[in-house]
């Protein structure tokens, strides 16, 4: 889990295979930012009542999901590329918050 060297770290004319690897993730996160901002702003304007609560819950849901969904995306990417150690750690990390919710409800 510690040392390592970059595969093909020396610069050259060949295109970098790592360039653009996070484009899809970046776009998805940008959409989520916009959705959370819009939902939260609408909830503030509405102010109180069931509509504000629903909008607030939607904003909060998207906000809470963003981190674990990002980790899930990384997990499938690493596992597909044979990086089992970090892929497995990422899967564990996705499961942990759900485990916390279940335990808090049971307690």
């Amino acid at each position: 889990m510690s040392a390592g060297h970059p595969p093909g770290s020396h610069g050259g004319a060949a295109p970098d295979p790592r360039a653009g690897r996070f484009d899809a993730l970046t776009s998805a996160l940008r959409v989520t930012q916009l959705a959370v901002a819009l939902l939260a702003a609408t909830a503030i304007v509405v102010g109180s009542g069931p509509a504000a609560a629903v909008l607030g819950a939607a904003a909060l849901g998207a906000l809470v999901a963003a981190g674990p969904v990002r980790v899930a995306w990384l997990a499938q990417r690493w596992l597909r590329r044979g990086d089992r150690l970090y892929g497995s750690l990422a899967v564990l990390l996705v499961v942990l918050p759900v485990l916390g919710l279940v335990v808090s409800i049971l307690l």
Partner: protein
């Protein structure tokens, strides 16, 4: 409505300052909410909302700059989230004064870590010129670009760093902060990862810590939805501006900003419990 605007304003300001130092806004927001009369049990869920929003807001810019080390983040976060869940579950059983003191002592430790070091540890190397910024697959090393140089780095003393991350997670779950104020120095000072990479990686991991802690608070019925929306909006905007400024900041200045903010937070929080 006035409370919502106040919370959104506080959240904006603290997320901006937090993003500058890579420590997340909740470390400042939670004490600020406590000063204005909220107990730490009410302030903690709002703090974690701010953490999640800060993480989301800064994510795109930091990804594009190649500053986030996801494998390091996931490794640190598995430990931190486990302890965050334990901390959140325990928080209702621990006296509020001790929750506040744990937050203050954590902030003080982070300030000492951050301000103690001088100089540049990771330097640019000609051999890595042309290497794209980012992590090296399958390792806890990588390269980042700064000031025209490609700077290689490799995480060291991983076990010790994970120990600090566990402490950060427990404080995070108890006090409603992201724990970036300890995770950033854990990665930069203990693991010798460049401070800008450490800050961006801590911002990523804090979003996951916040999700874990918030779900526990939801299960405990402690999350107020409209207040949370106001805090989320303020943090999204404030963190976006803070991350924009942070990207142009020299590493030594980033450390100074982080350390100074943490010292003030520690003084305020500990002072209120004496």
């Amino acid at each position: 409505m006035s409370d919502l605007v106040l919370h959104a304003g506080f959240s904006f300001l603290t997320a901006f300052l937090g993003a500058l130092g890579g420590i997340g806004g909740a470390t400042i927001l939670v004490p600020l909410l406590m000063v204005t009369g909220l107990g730490i049990l009410e302030a903690a869920p709002l703090g974690l909302v701010s953490v999640a929003a800060t993480s989301l807001s800064a994510s795109t810019r930091q990804l594009e700059a190649g500053l986030v080390h996801h494998r390091l983040g996931v490794t640190v976060e598995v430990v931190a989230s486990s302890f965050a869940i334990v901390g959140a579950l325990a928080s209702t059983a621990v006296p509020e004064v001790w929750l506040a003191r744990s937050l203050g002592l954590g902030a003080l430790a982070g300030a000492v870590f951050t301000l103690a070091r001088r100089g540049t540890r990771n330097r640019g190397e000609v051999a890595f010129l042309g290497d794209s910024a980012g992590e090296w697959p399958g390792t806890l090393g990588g390269t980042y670009h700064f000031d025209g140089h490609s700077v290689p780095y490799q995480a060291r003393r991983v076990g010790l760093g994970l120990g600090v991350a566990a402490t950060a997670g427990a404080i995070s779950g108890m006090a409603g902060v992201g724990g970036g104020f300890l995770k950033t120095p854990a990665m930069s000072e203990v693991m010798h990862v460049p401070v800008k990479v450490a800050g961006a990686t801590a911002t990523f991991t804090s979003g996951v810590t916040a999700a874990a802690g918030l779900l526990v608070f939801v299960g405990q019925g402690r999350v107020e939805l409209t207040d949370s929306a106001a805090v989320a909006l303020g943090a999204l905007v404030g963190a976006a501006l803070g991350a924009r400024v942070q990207a142009r900041l020299q590493a030594s200045r980033a450390r100074l900003v982080t350390g100074a903010i943490l010292l003030v937070v520690a003084a305020v929080v500990i002072g209120r419990t004496l």
